[in-house]
């Protein structure tokens, strides 16, 4: 195999579901973790069998959910299995998503020792009342501690996630959270605008009038403020919601945005490989059962957990290459790479929407690539819509 993949492993467990969260995760099912970890290892084995050889990978991402709920032994078993069933292309980026409330010194030390070299911490905010509102089960003190322990353990690649655009959040409160985050000197920062997801407690509160809708204009100001602050602090923005110190962009996520192949394992995980988008069964119990009962080998990129494998036709792949690639605020979608991949010129294939969006000041050509203008970054959906 000459393609190198990114490998995503989903850990669908959390201690408590946050008020805004609609991820595939379950609170109160931690008892399933050992069986789940085993199932995950089995799935890796099946995938390797289906591929006929150890698929090469260059990044590995443990996402969730709260992967830091995995006991260290389970984490180790999983990484070992990944080593057994995939061929690792150094330097391998191995990220662990962690909830600051679940960490301690020993855990971080052990995690580093078993190979995790990038830590992504869900800080969200430095304001106690905001953390309470979001029903996060940690405070800012936990974040400070976690960062400290992580550094001591040897982590040199730390990322913090923050959320902005909360109902009635002021610019000043936001700026404070941002400053506190910068004080911790992370290598990477992700900033997410709070979005109301259907079916979450937060969206119920808003529907029932208990909580005002977040103000979109204010969120835009917060975003612009963050762009400025982070720029001054020496961060480079490389994606709509992501900033990094030079050389620390998340390689795993870049794979997604460049619309390159990745393997997704675990309950509800998505993959994109060999021309298919795959989705695994969502429920963790169903996932475990499937792998316990699995016997017959599958055809790559399927595994016994695969619920759906949807072929991606060329037109879809082109449009997805744009929808994802335009999120990359610096590199955008490269003309040359597009033509190499599809044998068609980007500016010809999409000439009408590109013309419209350039005229509207949302897209620009830069260094032989198409990318969003600063204004376009705030109006991404308007842009992407033109390419579906």
């Amino acid at each position: 195999m000459d393609t190198s993949y990114s490998l995503y492993l989903h850990i669908p467990f959390c201690r408590h579901r946050c008020a805004y969260c609609d991820f595939n995760t379950y609170a109160g099912l931690e008892a399933l973790i050992p069986a789940y970890a085993q199932a995950l290892c089995r799935e890796m084995a099946f995938l390797r069998q289906a591929a006929g050889e150890r698929p090469p990978i260059h990044t590995l991402f443990l996402g969730g959910g709260t992967p830091s709920l995995l006991p260290i032994t389970a984490l180790e078993t999983i990484l070992q299995a990944a080593h057994t069933h995939f061929s690792w292309h150094a330097p391998l980026e191995i990220t662990l998503e962690a909830n600051p409330g679940t960490l301690d010194r020993d855990y971080l030390r052990a995690a580093y020792a078993v190979g995790v070299n990038r830590l992504s911490l869900g800080m969200q905010s430095a304001q106690p009342e905001e953390l309470r509102f979001l029903e996060r089960q940690h405070d800012f003190g936990d974040v400070i501690q976690a960062v400290e322990w992580a550094r001591r353990a040897g982590f040199e690649n730390l990322s913090l996630d923050l959320i902005y655009g909360l109902p009635e959040q002021s610019l000043a409160r936001w700026e404070q959270s941002l400053s506190r985050a910068l004080d911790l000197q992370p290598e990477h920062i992700s900033l997410y605008a709070l979005t109301l997801e259907h079916g979450t407690p937060l969206s119920h509160w808003v529907d029932r009038g208990l909580v005002p809708l977040p103000d979109a204009d204010r969120a835009a100001e917060m975003y612009e403020l963050a762009c400025e602050r982070l720029d001054k602090a020496g961060f480079e923005q490389y994606e709509i919601s992501n900033w990094a110190r030079p050389g620390h962009a998340c390689r795993h996520n870049l794979q997604y945005w460049r619309n390159l192949p990745y393997l997704g394992l675990g309950a509800g995980a998505h993959g994109f490989a060999a021309g298919y988008r795959t989705v695994a069964v969502r429920a963790s119990t169903a996932y475990i059962e499937r792998l316990q009962n699995a016997g017959a080998p599958s055809v790559f990129p399927r595994t016994p957990a695969t619920a759906e494998a949807i072929p991606v036709d060329r037109a879809t792949e082109m449009s997805e290459t744009l929808i994802m690639g335009l999120r990359l605020t610096q590199e955008g979608v490269s003309l040359q790479r597009f033509e190499q991949r599809f044998g068609q010129r980007l500016e010809e294939h999409y000439s009408a929407p590109i013309r419209r969006l350039r005229r509207a000041g949302l897209l620009e050509w830069h260094a032989e690539a198409l990318r969003l203008t600063p204004r376009g970054r705030l109006l991404g959906n308007r842009v992407f819509m033109e390419f579906v």
Binding site: T195, Y223, A269, G361
Partner: protein
């Protein structure tokens, strides 16, 4: 197949309609009568079985009258043929009720025991008296906890002179006392008159279109008889036809071999256009024509006009076909092509009222799958020009240059509002606030007052009924008729979006109201038009003077959600959905305007 004795003795035919204010239970009573006479089996029975259109079922409202024949064995041992016509109660369809009455000798006047007499109870009663019908009052819904049958009986007695104890009290829901209704129909309604030996005269009182049978005329035979092979002639249009089939409604169409004097049934004409077979015309025999047609009806005139445009210009032909098809079943719908600078090609449609308009709009969308934009309704104005010429316009965009106008006249209506006396004050205030003029009052029953006003129709069609209902907690009811055209100081209120006048948003208003309405409209539009990529000014102007303005701020941010590998498909679907929503809007210049905005005028509350 023949299901009924082919030569029913005319003495044993009864033709009657069921009339009432909206929702008083006409269709439910019809259900019970159909059941009691065994016309419909228990298995086929549904609620309001005669409301067969999807929209009727969904709204629980009768839109179109329907006829049905029943066979009933009376306690004298004889079998009677009862022809029932269920009518709509909504004021927009009053003309349907009046047409139905001309096919009958009697009417069941249903009154809700909890509501008592309301505006269309009176309006329909007067029509029935005018048509010389035998009226059988029936108090319905006596099962309701809020029923007050004694009071309602007293109200009816005051009105009709029927002794209260003789007024039937029923529950159409539970079926209580339904037998008494059937007995009263046989005993009190006279059998039809007419001369079986005279040349055929059959009145077309309604019609619908059937893809196989063409226009199906609903007829009442006044003289003579019809056999399936007769060559027939329409007296007004002189069109000749050989029926595809004749029959009765049972309640589905059931062919018979004869319709005799006094009977109600249908003639499937095979004709492909309603123009040739008009409701109100008289059908006679081609070989032996009657010398005189029956007195016809006055055709309902559309009162309310609006532009109907396809959202997507490519659907224009489809829209035209759909309108033509709807008109086949509903001759009161009129339309002609219209162009708008803002909306391109569409149709100017005339409706009987706002409810009628709403129904046509929904049918176009649902039955024909069209995405349409309807402009704010307008009335028909008479414009006297300086050169002495009078032009009629039914769209504000057609208003000539003010310099050429001597005078603008608008239709005024006589309106009757029937309300509990406690709402006297609020009703007065509402009507006079809309340029209404008080004419007089009557107290048909002790706690209720009928207030008579005159009011411009243009004020009536903008949300008036809803305002009346909400201010009187639903107790007031309303009836109205055209009075006359009157001049007033009227001006056109133009709306400019992004500095461009949008003809489809213009309205004609009284000069004194221009400022207030302009402001209200501008702020409503600001609410309804989504933010665009650039700031959009909205202005209201009269002539060249801008009287109100607002600014829609440019859109700064749409969702900045995160997006990683797993979300691609979902994200894509979301984008597709958003894109569709955008497509449903009408792009005017660079501005995307949603359908609701064109109806904004209707949604202005009088604050």
């Amino acid at each position: 197949m023949v299901y009924f004795p082919p030569l029913m003795n005319r003495e044993r035919i009864r033709n009657f309609s069921i009339i009432a204010h909206i929702d008083h239970g006409k269709s439910t009573l019809a259900d019970r009568l159909l059941q009691a006479t065994g016309t419909i089996s228990e298995r086929e029975m549904t609620e309001q079985v005669l409301d067969s259109m999807d929209l009727e079922r969904e709204k629980g409202v009768t839109i179109k009258a329907s006829a049905v024949r029943m066979q009933y064995t009376h306690n004298d041992g004889q079998v009677y043929e009862l022809n029932l016509i269920d009518t709509p109660g909504h004021v927009d369809f009053g003309y349907e009720v009046s047409r139905a009455m001309y096919a009958c000798e009697g009417a069941l006047l249903v009154v809700d025991a909890s509501q008592g007499i309301e505006a269309q109870t009176l309006a329909n009663l007067y029509m029935a008296l005018e048509a010389d019908l035998e009226i059988i009052p029936v108090i319905n819904k006596i099962d309701l906890p809020a029923a007050r049958p004694d009071e309602v009986a007293a109200e009816i007695s005051d009105l009709l002179g029927t002794p209260p104890e003789e007024i039937l009290r029923i529950s159409a829901k539970s079926g209580e006392n339904i037998a008494a209704v059937l007995q009263a129909v046989v005993e009190r309604i006279p059998p039809p008159q007419g001369d079986p030996d005279a040349p055929l005269r059959a009145l077309i009182f309604d019609s619908h279109y059937d893809a196989y049978k063409g226009v199906v005329a609903y007829v009442r035979v006044f003289d003579g008889a019809i056999a399936p092979n007769d060559m027939l002639q329409l007296m007004a249009t002189q069109a000749r036809l050989q029926p595809v089939e004749i029959g009765i409604f049972a309640p589905e169409m059931r062919p018979t071999d004869r319709l005799i004097t006094g009977e109600v049934g249908y003639i499937a004409t095979g004709l492909k256009s309603v123009g040739e077979c008009r409701v109100g015309d008289t059908i006679t025999l081609a070989s032996r024509p009657a010398p005189q047609p029956l007195p016809g009806y006055r055709h309902p005139k559309p009162m309310v006009f609006a532009g109907v445009y396809p959202v997507d210009g490519e659907d224009y032909e489809d829209l035209r076909d759909a309108l033509a098809k709807l008109q086949l079943n509903d001759a009161s719908l009129v339309y002609e092509p219209e162009t708008s600078q803002a909306l391109n090609f569409g149709f100017r449609c005339g409706f009987l009222g706002l409810f009628h308009m709403e129904i046509i709009q929904e049918r176009l969308e649902r039955e024909y799958g069209l995405d349409i934009i309807t402009t704010a309704p307008s009335v028909e104005y008479e414009v006297l020009l300086r050169n002495g010429e009078v032009v009629r316009i039914d769209s504000p965009a057609q208003l000539p240059d003010p310099a050429e106008i001597e005078e603008i006249r608008e239709p005024w209506m006589k309106i009757q509002i029937f309300t509990p006396t406690e709402y006297y004050g609020v009703v007065m205030e509402l009507v006079t606030g809309r340029r209404g003029v008080f004419i007089g009052q009557e107290y048909p029953t002790p706690n209720r007052v009928q207030l008579d006003f005159e009011m411009p129709l243009s004020e009536l069609i903008v949300d008036f009924f809803d305002a009346l209902k909400s201010r009187t907690r639903g107790y007031a009811s309303l009836d109205y008729q055209f009075a006359e055209y009157r001049p007033d100081d009227l001006v056109r209120l133009d709306i400019l979006v992004n500095k461009e006048p949008v003809d489809a948003l213009a309205t004609i208003v009284h000069r004194d109201d221009a400022y207030r309405k302009g402001q209200a409209l501008v702020s409503k539009l600001k609410e309804l038009i989504p933010r665009q990529l650039f700031a959009v000014p909205i202005q209201a102007s009269v002539g060249s003077r801008v009287i109100s303005r607002a600014n829609i701020k440019a859109l700064r941010k749409d969702v900045l959600a995160k997006c990683y590998g797993g979300d691609v498909t979902r994200k894509r679907k979301l984008l597709e959905k958003q894109k569709k929503g955008k497509k449903r809007m009408k792009a005017i210049g660079n501005v995307e305007i949603p359908q609701e905005a064109f109806l904004a005028v209707l949604r202005l509350r009088d604050e």
